[in-house]
Amino acid sequence: MSLSLNAILAQAMLGLTNGAFYAILSLGLAVIFGLLNIINFAHGAVYMLGAMVALIGYSYLGSWIGVPELQAGFWWALALAPLVVGVFGMIIERTMLKRLYQLDHLYGLLLTFGIALVLQGFFLNYFSTGGTPYPATPAVLKGAVDLGFMYFPTYRLFAIIASLAVCFATWYVIERTQIGALLRAGTENPNLVQAFGVNVPLMVTLTYGFGVALAAFAGVVAAPIYSISPLMGADLIIIVFAVVVIGGMGSIMGAIVTGLSLGMIEGLTKVIYAPAANTVIFLLMVLVLLIRPAGLFGKER
């Protein structure tokens, strides 16, 4: 493979696309871990669920309810899938996760692992792992942009911008608004916040729902790029874990910055020695865990 500047820039752009997804997914994971102290192993599965909702909404929903012309297009999916999946997440939290808070939070990991298996197994019966292409990419986003060193598909550019926009909006809400302040306070001292009259359990439920909705949003954005496969989340989840650990488990900015950076590091590794791209991230993860276990941006908890 050639190491020309064009090739490097092109791979960096591709890495940026991946990085945007890592950022938004690790953001959701970090938010959930921050408040609930739970490693949400189901994060990859709800990402996939978001994509599935988008696919079903377009291709199947109409015929199920007897109105075949009804096809929920991309923009509808972008708005509705996170809502649907978010509600699903809140139900999970209320009925199951709630019971595990007083226990070692590794049980939370195991429970969400089980949920992931259920979701994946369910969809594997209906969809192939080779990937079903998403049929409703909006026409306005088709085509490519000439960046000089490569033709970059317009849709991928949109994906990067949309993901980053959502990431920074979330960061802003959490770090700079009143609601965010309550959330952060609830993380540090739930009892005190409860004493002030804030309904902490409700906040927890909504937070989980929000984190999960972020993943679903990412899933919808990802569908036109990566095709939709029941295992699309499984392949991604452990990398996202690595990102969160490296960035710092409770840090919002850490998740975003690390996600983007690691995406680009991965992309550049692909130029040099493609198979090692994934592994580089895990090596970094081990290093961080040994030297600075709270992560690059995190605080010791």
């Binding site: 990991l109 197994g121 081990v286």
Partner: protein, 324 residues
């Protein structure tokens, strides 16, 4: 573990192949040993490793390579596999022990991914195709393991030996210290025990025995492949142990038997197996944290004993800001 149980266990193992397909039984025993080895770490020391497939898988490949390309007899190949896994466990343990709880689990996961990568790329492993055509060989140079019954009894011997070893470790003073560490690590430390050394030792033993299980599986199926080192398998062994009962001696075996049988029986139903396993996980975590054997033990103790009932065994609570 008392004598009656031992007799029943050995007896069952001896007569089982006359009723059930021996190759399937051999699979049960291999995964049973894997789960028992894993339990040594989580059930008795309280450390959740999310990368145990690294030991199962690496031993599988080492054994396969030695049996096929170097021509070692099966029992030597298995032992070598176990030793290799133990060596990897020594290195991984040294790194992982420095952290607690969730960070410990994450390190083991990351390290296991690195092993997976090596399994994927190293030329001798065959990558996606796997290491095929591993000969059954002649155990001790005498017994042809191509004979299904002979192969089964060989595996049974390996399993019982490994199981006995684990039982001995658990009942020994060493095992008592491990349990103490699980219950209250700071107190164990204050009593003067070199907690890090004990944890490391437990890690190595667990890794080596998991390796023996993986190597044996390779001889039975004449195959070592990538799924043997994947994190999905790491997750599965956690489920097997949890389902059977953390911290019980028979639990992991029961859990492994259940999961493998479930997968086999439901294989005609496609991916509903995965759904079933996921649901089992969920139900277990929510309602049956003691696992099958654990619940049975709890039940019998409540009914027949006047002694105060045990607390639920649980994974060790994470202490705050540990930076040992």
């Amino acid at each position: 573990m008392n004598r009656t149980l031992w007799v029943i266990l050995v007896g069952a193992c001896l007569i089982a192949p006359f009723f059930v397909y021996p190759v399937f039984l051999a699979k049960l025993l291999c995964f049973g040993l894997f789960a028992c080895a894993f339990n040594l770490l989580i059930g008795y020391t309280g450390l959740l490793s999310f990368g145990h497939a690294a030991f199962f898988g690496s031993a599988a490949y080492v054994c396969g390579y030695l049996a096929r390309d170097v021509g070692l007899t099966p029992e030597l190949a298995i032992l070598s596999g176990g030793l290799a896994a133990g060596a990897i466990g020594y290195v991984f343990g040294a790194l992982a022990i420095r952290r607690q709880g969730i960070y410990f689990a994450m390190i083991t996961l990351a390290l296991a991914q690195i092993v997976f990568f090596i399994a994927l790329k190293a030329p001798i492993t065959g990558g996606e195709d796997g290491l095929q055509g591993v000969p059954r060989g002649n155990a001790l140079g005498l017994i042809d393991l191509n004979d299904t019954m002979a192969m089964y009894y060989f595996v049974m011997t390996v399993f019982l030996a490994g199981f006995w070893l684990i039982a001995r470790i658990v009942d020994s003073p060493f095992g008592q210290v491990l349990k103490a560490i699980r219950e209250n690590e700071p107190r164990a430390l204050s009593l003067g025990f070199n907690v890090a050394r004990y944890k490391h030792m437990a890690f190595v033993l667990s890794a080596a025995l998991a390796g023996v299980a993986g190597a044996t599986k390779t001889i039975v199926f004449q195959f070592a492949s990538l799924p043997d080192a994947s994190w999905h398998l790491s997750g599965e062994v956690v489920l097997m142990t949890l389902l059977g009962g953390l911290g019980t001696i028979l639990g992991p075996m029961v859990g492994a038997f259940t999961v493998v049988s479930l997968q086999s029986e439901l294989s005609g139903f496609g991916s509903w197996v995965t759904v079933a396993i996921g649901l089992t996980f969920i139900v277990c975590v929510l309602l049956f944290r003691r696992g099958i054997v654990g619940e049975l033990e709890h039940f019998f103790r409540k009914r027949f004993s006047t002694v105060k009932v045990d607390q639920k065994p649980s994974v060790r609570h994470e202490s705050t800001t540990e930076t040992r």
